[in-house]
Chain length 152, copies 2
């Protein structure tokens, strides 16, 4: 009986093999699993495992800061040396479709947490070829709509 | 021959019906299609169509501003009255899995564009029950990692 992995559901059995017949579903599962492994490798500072999940020609972009890192070696260095503190991360959600996945993580350092949102595109070998990384920061709501929304 | 809709691919034919056998794939397609229709309704200020896509008890949250809007009527008002300008939006990506979808849009107003990222969770009736909305803003990269990343 095939055992399949789903984001949020973990390993599930597939008694009639109906799920594993669909290549697009396989890709969706792989993209979600790959991204889960990517974050697990980052959290454990296992840069060899981390590097094995990304393509040789991976491109990372952070549209907010317009930072770009190209290539596996540079990208491992960016992660291993660019964030030296005692941070931890927890995956909150992974949504995947085909060769794309989106993650929501909680990144915590020195008691402060921030949400990170990341889009991943995998290549034909199942490696992460493109990463688009967002870090939304708190802001005050516009005064003009204060009567239309509550706060929490 | 069933005709199926995929985000990014539009309508495609399904000659052997293999795709339509899978309920999880159907749900993924529906979530992506629903979110595409949601943004099309918003762009055309068709608040009746917009309201029909969200659940009676929809909950909208913007974690950055900690704004929350509960219920369909309040949520239509928030959108129709809270953003009065001559804005336009363009969907850049939709990623969907099961009853969840994530969108990346470009929101343009008075010549200024901003990226919006939104997580949608659908209920059992296929309506949008929960919206989690993020608006990442530009920031300067931390100086400590300037040697590890280029700019674009």
């Amino acid at each position: 009986m095939p055992v399949l992995w789903f984001p949020g559901a973990g390993l599930v059995s597939d008694p009639v093999g109906s799920l594993s017949r669909m290549s697009s579903t396989d890709q969706a599962r792989d993209a979600g699993r790959t991204v889960a492994e990517y974050w697990a490798a980052a959290e454990s500072r296992d840069w060899a495992a981390f590097g094995a999940l990304v393509a040789e020609d991976v491109v990372y972009e952070a549209p907010q800061s317009r930072e770009r890192v190209s290539g596996r070696e540079a990208y491992i260095r960016f992660n291993a040396e660019g964030f030296p503190g005692g941070w931890h991360l927890a995956v909150q959600r992974i949504v995947s479709q085909g060769q794309t996945a989106v993650s929501m993580i909680e990144f915590t350092e020195e008691g402060t947490s921030q949400t990170g949102l990341c889009f991943f595109d995998l290549d034909g070998d199942g490696r992460i070829a493109r990463i688009t990384d967002f870090w939304p920061e708190p802001y005050e709501p516009p005064a003009g709509r204060a009567h239309l929304a509550g706060r929490y």
